[in-house]
Structures are given as structure tokens and as C-alpha cells.
């Protein structure tokens, strides 16, 4: 056990810090849930990519640096420390990317990874359907063989695709065997959003911005080359993506430790009111505990162990920590918390709204608790 970073990691940290100091925009970019903000964030992705900072843990051939998970965590710490922009490519690089690296054919990797890394192609997730949310296996969107037999026709409707209104590509699962039960007979597809038959309806979210979209598929032609993994084996491919979503790669701890540090600053600015102290301490410790847990998990991964159902603990913990940090900040702001001012109140309020989605997306925390109980504690299914 050694909780210090070695010289190589420290050198990497210094390099990342220097680059970020030189390149992070001084003014915050417009919200990435707007059309203009989306493109501004895409430009930032391109800038990251051109100096090989967009996907540091990917192989060099696809635009990464081939560094390990610990170095990735170091990069993330520096990224949040620098208050760099949100990652508009996150669904691609953090969710689909690892799945492509695991299940993709060489041709698929070559075709899809580099433009994903560069921000040229930004991905959204076609997962949930109106009647398949928590019950993801209830998916009804279907894929049938096309006339030529060399591809598929997609039909159906997906929803809650974050930034689906602006994305270039979509990954999702479709039912290929209508006879098969629930988790079986699903296949994982990669679909261009400008393919004929794809229609997008933006869904304004709670703050009025177009955070997500419904995607309608009407006889959308997709070649075999855009199937990820085996036919009818989409569920296990999807579970790999879901594991990333809940586990290590979507929510790096630096996000929360940075927010907790800002919370302590706010607490000091507000004169350290004694009645807020306990909540501030809890928020700070939970963020710190998440960081430690991530190092712990990464160390197991580095030793060759797989991330198991503990990922569901992760999802519950980071989502509730995020809510708690922001709730505590709003309590410190008192009656000013509702003001949409730029700067402190507004930023915390934005963060609060975003945090409230945490216990819902990526599998509600109710579903995660079932997973923890059944898979970590061995309790029987209901």
C-alpha cells in the first residue's frame, strides 16, 4: 500500500496542469445543452484532442496516450482543478469508447474511435424507451433484417438521449429476436443521426434548456458493420457500457472533491455558520471517501481484478454525494439560492438541478439498491 504517486505520474500531472493552464478558456462556455454551447464545447474537444488530452487512457493509435487508469485519475484531478469545460463528448468517450475497445472489430475501432476522440463525431445514448426506463429489458424498438440481408431496418422510439438534439451518432439496443424473453434477443447498434428515417424531438428539461431528446426510428437502414458485438448479444455489451456509466469512468472523483472544496470556500465566505458545519463536513468527507474508493477500485483493476456489482454502490454514492454538496451550498446561500445570478448562486443552482438527475439516470438508485442487495448480499430476487 502506497498512496503517493510515483515520479512518472507526477511528471504527467505537471504536464497536464501546464497545458490546461495555458488552454482552458477564461470565460465559461455557454451551456452545452444549447446549440451554440454544444458547438463551443465541440471546439474545446478538438483542442484537447490536438494535444492528445481528450482520451489519455486510450491506445495511442486511436488518439490517446495509452496511460493507465491511475494516470487518467490524475488527469481528471487536474482537469477539474483547472475548472475546464464540461465534456460534451462524454457519452462517447466514457461510455461507448470502453465498450468499443472491448467488443469492437478492428474496423469499427478504426472507423469510430478517432473521430469520437477528436469531437468530430459526438455520440448520444439510445437506451431508454417510454415504457422501458428502470425496466430496461422491456425494450420494444426492433431491428429486422433488410431485404438485401446485409443490414438491418430499425424501428421504434428512444428517449432521454442527453444532447440527442445535437449529436452526430447514437448507440443503442434494439430487439432483434421478438420471440426471445426480455434480456435475450437484443442487439447493440451504432446509428448515424442523419440517416434517413431518424427524427429527433428535443425535450426541454426542468430549466427550460434542451438537455435531452426523443429519437424516432422509421425504417432506418443500418449495415452489419454497425452492429457492436454479436447479434442477439446486445444485453451483455450494454451491461459493459452500463458498468462504465455507474462505475469508474463516467464520474471521476475530482468532480466532487473540487465541488467540496468550493463548498468549504463558500462556508468560509458566509462566516462559517455553526449550524451548517456538520453538513459541510459530511459533504467534504463523502467526496473524499469517493476519491479514496476510486483509488481502491483502480488499484484492484490495476491488479487485474474486474469491477463487479460494487459499481452499483458507486452510483448510489456519487449521485447522493452530489445532491448533498449542492443542497448544503444552497442552504448556505439562504434566500439568495433561488437567484439566477451569474457567479456563485447561479452556478450552485445549476449544479443542484443537474445533481437531482443523478439518482434517476444510469439506472435509478432504487434499481441500484436492488442490485447491491441481490448481487453483493445475495438476497433473493423479489
Amino acid at each position: 500500500m502506497d498512496l503517493t504517486f510515483d515520479a512518472e505520474h507526477e511528471e504527467f500531472r505537471a504536464e497536464a496542469r501546464a497545458w490546461l493552464r495555458a488552454h482552458v478558456p477564461h470565460e465559461p462556455l455557454p451551456s452545452l445543452d444549447t446549440a451554440a454551447g454544444f458547438e463551443a464545447h465541440r471546439a474545446w474537444e478538438t483542442a484537447l484532442f490536438s494535444d492528445r488530452w481528450s482520451v489519455v487512457s486510450w491506445p495511442i493509435e486511436f488518439g490517446g496516450r495509452g496511460v493507465g487508469i491511475m494516470a487518467w485519475l490524475v488527469f481528471e484531478e487536474e482537469y477539474y482543478r483547472a475548472r475546464a469545460p464540461k465534456r460534451v463528448s462524454q457519452n462517447g468517450i466514457f461510455l461507448l469508447g470502453p465498450t468499443l475497445l472491448e467488443y469492437g472489430t478492428p474496423a469499427q475501432k478504426e472507423r469510430f474511435l478517432p473521430p469520437m476522440a477528436s469531437g468530430e463525431e459526438i455520440w448520444c445514448q439510445g437506451w431508454s424507451e417510454p415504457d422501458a426506463g428502470s425496466d430496461l429489458a422491456a425494450i420494444r424498438s426492433r431491428a429486422t433484417r433488410n431485404a438485401g440481408g446485409d443490414g438491418w431496418l430499425l424501428n421504434g422510439q428512444k428517449t432521454w438521449a442527453s444532447r440527442g438534439a445535437f449529436a452526430d451518432w447514437c448507440f443503442g439496443i434494439f430487439r432483434t429476436d421478438p420471440q426471445a424473453e426480455r434480456h435475450r434477443g437484443l442487439t447493440y447498434f451504432l446509428v448515424a443521426m442523419d440517416a434517413p428515417g431518424v427524427t429527433v424531438r428535443p425535450i426541454p428539461q426542468i430549466d427550460g434548456e434542451t438537455g435531452f431528446a426523443e429519437i424516432f426510428f422509421e425504417n432506418v437502414e443500418v449495415p452489419d458493420a454497425q452492429v457492436l458485438g454479436d447479434e442477439d448479444a446486445g444485453w451483455s455489451v450494454a451491461m459493459s457500457t452500463a458498468g462504465s456509466e455507474r462505475g469508474l469512468s463516467l464520474r471521476s472523483p475530482a468532480r466532487y472533491t473540487k465541488a467540496a472544496a468550493r463548498l468549504i470556500d463558500l462556508f468560509d465566505q458566509r462566516g462559517a455558520p455553526p449550524m451548517a458545519a456538520d453538513a459541510v463536513a459530511r459533504a467534504y468527507m463523502d467526496a473524499e471517501a469517493y476519491r479514496l474508493h476510486t483509488y481502491w477500485t483502480a488499484s484492484q483493476v490495476a491488479r487485474g481484478h474486474a469491477v463487479g456489482p460494487e459499481a452499483s454502490c458507486n452510483k448510489i454514492f456519487w449521485s447522493e454525494t452530489d445532491v448533498q454538496i449542492h443542497e448544503t451550498a444552497l442552504a448556505l446561500l439562504g434566500p439568495e439560492a433561488e437567484l439566477l445570478e451569474s457567479g456563485s448562486p447561479g452556478e450552485w443552482l445549476d449544479g443542484y438541478l443537474f445533481s437531482l438527475a443523478g439518482p434517476i439516470y444510469a439506472g435509478t438508485n432504487q434499481i441500484q439498491r436492488n442490485v447491491v442487495a441481490e448481487r453483493l448480499l445475495g438476497l433473493p430476487r423479489g
Binding site: S134, T159, Q205, M275, L330, L333, G334, P335, E338
Partner: protein
């Protein structure tokens, strides 16, 4: 000991609920945010006239001054209904705070003028300049370099013709003014809840608008703070009830895993916890209304307890309702967000739950809840 509402009080509440359901359906909330300023003002005006017809704004004004001569116990149900429907108008500020305060300050000229405007039913009054902190009422009003006063977060200023404003000087203490809107400069403040009317008001300090100063103003401000806490508790109770009802209805309809999500214990227990919190916040809120109506010495304690419990109940109801709705609840199309945003705003104004817990504890420790007719057993 009779802790229940009279038949008339129950009827008044029902009348308000039905009138609001008719004149202010859920769609109207959406329109309030998305329409032009003119259209918005017109609709607000129509709603206010309807409330005036029900007698709501002047409920607490004595009959001799043209009001209904009723009490906070009559008002509390009306406020609960205003919360249930997320009414945007400053009913609490006008009917619950300005009206009884102005009535006690008669015949001071600015009070008489403001009360006359209120009783006419044409427009609400705006109220601002009092916050509640762990030490009790505090003043957010500041002096600007041009000698004017600047009061942030004044509620209802965009439609009111008279503003009831407080300020505090470290030396001379509190002052309370009734300032004509025409004398003020107004900067609307954008808030998360787009249906809420908050502004920063610049106003001139003048003896012509003075309602009270010194000890009298301090007592008035203290009582307004109690009424603000108790009244926003009533609004929050209505909001909490509505959010729990919406979530329970949704949980009956929405199916996952082949059955209504409301049949899963996880969903049931979330909603049950919210329902229990509401169940116990309610009598505390009604008690505060009674203490105000009957001028109990325990009124500050009772108002603080109501606000603490109602804020917690509404915050929990919002969290639970959102979680039960899932992603749908996170959309603009679902009505839930209007109620959540209002609940978040009200939960943080007039002192949040933690602040009021401090105030309650301080009073309980000082045995500051003086014996009612007899000490109730503790």
C-alpha cells in the same frame, strides 16, 4: 380544546380551491412563464380580481376598514390552497402580512392609503426588507451611494402599487414604510421559479411614507416575520400535498416490470415517508395560525416550528416526487417542476428549516414558551 376548523373555514377553503382550479388550471402556470409581459400582467390582474371577489386579500382587515374581519385561522386554509395551486400572486404578502399590519397602524396616513388600495382589490401589495436569521429578523436593505435604499428580493413589486418596505439602521433600529410604486425604481430579479415576482427595489427614505419606527417598528417587524414564517409554512404544506398527490397518481399509472411502479415497496415507502412528514407538519402549521390569531405569547416559537416542519416536509416531498416521476419529472413538460421550484424558493425564504430549529431551541431553552392557561405537562 378544539383543534379543528369550523364549517365556514372548511367552506372558504373549498371555495378557494374550486375557484383556483377553474381560473388557474395547471396550463396557466406554463403560460405565465412563456407569455409576454403584457399578457402575463393581464392574467395576473384577472386572477387577483377573482381572489378579491372571494374576499381573500382583505380577509384579515377589520370590517370597519372594509375588510372581512376574519383571522389567521381563516387565512391558513386559503394559503394552503394557494400553495396547492402554486398561485404566483403575492397573496401571503398582501393578505397575510400587509393587511393586518396596516390595519393595526391606522389611522397613520400612509397606512390608511395603502389599506384603501388593498381593500379596493385592484392590486396586491408588495412586501420586502425582512429576512430571518438564527438571531431573528434581519435587514437585507442597504443604503446606496445616491442616498436611496436598496431592498433585494421584494415580492410582488411588478404588479403592486404600494410597497411595504422595512429597513434597519444600527443606531435607530427598524423603520417600516408604505412607499408608492411610483417613487421607486424596480429591477426585476430572475429566479429559478419563473412564476415568482421578485425584484430589487430602490426607494427614497421619507417621513411621508413612514408607518412606524423604534419599538413599534421592531414589534411590527417581529410580527411580520412570524406571519411570514407561519404563512409560508401554509403555502409549503399545500405544495407538499400537491407534489405527493401528483407523484402518487403517476405511480398508479406508470408501469415497469409489468406492474404499476406504485406497487413496488421502494416507491411506496418513499411516498409514505413524505406523507408522514406532511401529516405532522400540518397541525404545527395550524397551531401557528391560531397563535397569531389569538396573540399567544408563544407565537414566535409556534411560527418557527411551523416553518421548520413545513419546509422539511416540502423539501422531502419535492425530492420524493421527482424520484418517483423519474426522468419525466425532470422535463419542462411535466408540471411537477413548477411546484418543486416554488417549494425550494419558499423553503429558503423567511428563514430555512435549520434557522428556525435554532430559534425554536433557543426559546424552548429559555422556557420561552410561556405557560398557556396551564403548562401542558412538560
Amino acid at each position: 380544546m378544539d383543534f379543528s376548523f369550523s364549517d365556514e373555514q372548511v367552506e372558504l377553503r373549498h371555495a378557494v380551491r374550486h375557484a383556483l382550479a377553474r381560473e388557474f388550471p395547471l396550463d396557466a402556470l406554463r403560460v405565465t412563464v412563456q407569455t409576454t409581459a403584457d399578457e402575463r400582467a393581464e392574467r395576473a390582474g384577472a386572477r387577483w380580481r377573482m381572489l378579491a371577489e372571494l374576499g381573500a386579500p382583505a380577509l384579515l382587515v377589520p370590517e370597519t376598514a372594509g375588510g372581512l374581519g376574519l383571522s389567521d385561522v381563516d387565512l391558513v386554509g386559503v394559503l394552503e390552497e394557494a400553495g396547492w395551486s402554486a398561485l404566483p400572486e403575492p397573496l401571503l404578502e398582501t393578505a397575510g402580512l400587509a393587511a393586518p399590519m396596516l390595519a393595526t397602524l391606522l389611522p397613520v396616513a400612509p397606512a390608511a392609503g395603502a389599506l384603501h388600495a388593498l381593500v379596493s382589490g385592484k392590486a396586491p401589495l408588495a412586501v420586502g426588507g425582512i429576512d430571518i436569521g438564527p438571531g431573528g429578523p434581519s435587514s437585507p436593505t442597504a443604503v446606496t451611494p445616491d442616498g436611496m435604499l436598496r431592498t433585494p428580493r421584494v415580492v410582488g413589486a411588478r404588479t403592486a402599487t404600494v410597497y411595504l418596505l422595512a429597513c434597519r439602521d444600527p443606531d435607530s433600529g427598524w423603520q417600516l414604510h408604505a412607499v408608492p410604486a411610483a417613487d421607486c425604481t424596480l429591477a426585476p430579479t430572475p429566479t429559478l421559479d419563473g412564476t415568482r415576482d421578485l425584484s430589487t427595489v430602490h426607494w427614497p427614505l421619507s417621513s411621508e411614507t413612514l408607518l412606524a419606527y423604534g419599538v413599534a417598528a421592531e414589534a411590527s417587524v417581529g410580527l411580520m416575520a412570524d406571519r411570514g414564517a407561519a404563512g409560508s409554512a401554509a403555502l409549503l404544506i399545500g405544495l407538499a400535498d400537491r407534489m405527493i398527490t401528483m407523484a402518487a397518481d403517476y405511480a398508479k399509472e406508470r408501469h415497469q416490470f409489468g406492474k404499476p411502479v406504485g406497487s413496488f415497496q421502494a416507491v411506496k415507502h418513499l411516498l409514505a415517508d413524505a406523507r408522514v412528514k406532511l401529516e405532522f407538519a400540518r397541525p404545527a402549521t395550524y397551531r401557528a395560525a391560531w397563535s397569531l390569531a389569538s396573540a399567544q405569547p408563544s407565537v414566535s416559537h409556534d411560527a418557527s416550528m411551523a416553518k421548520a416542519m413545513a419546509s422539511d416536509a416540502a423539501d422531502l416531498a419535492a425530492r420524493v416526487a421527482l424520484q418517483v416521476h423519474g426522468a419525466i419529472g425532470y422535463t419542462w413538460e411535466c408540471d411537477l417542476h413548477f411546484f418543486m421550484k416554488r417549494a425550494w424558493a419558499l423553503s429558503a425564504t423567511w428563514g430555512d428549516a435549520a434557522t428556525h430549529r435554532q430559534l425554536v431551541l433557543a426559546q424552548a431553552r429559555r422556557r420561552g414558551v410561556p405557560a398557556r392557561r396551564s403548562d401542558p405537562g412538560t
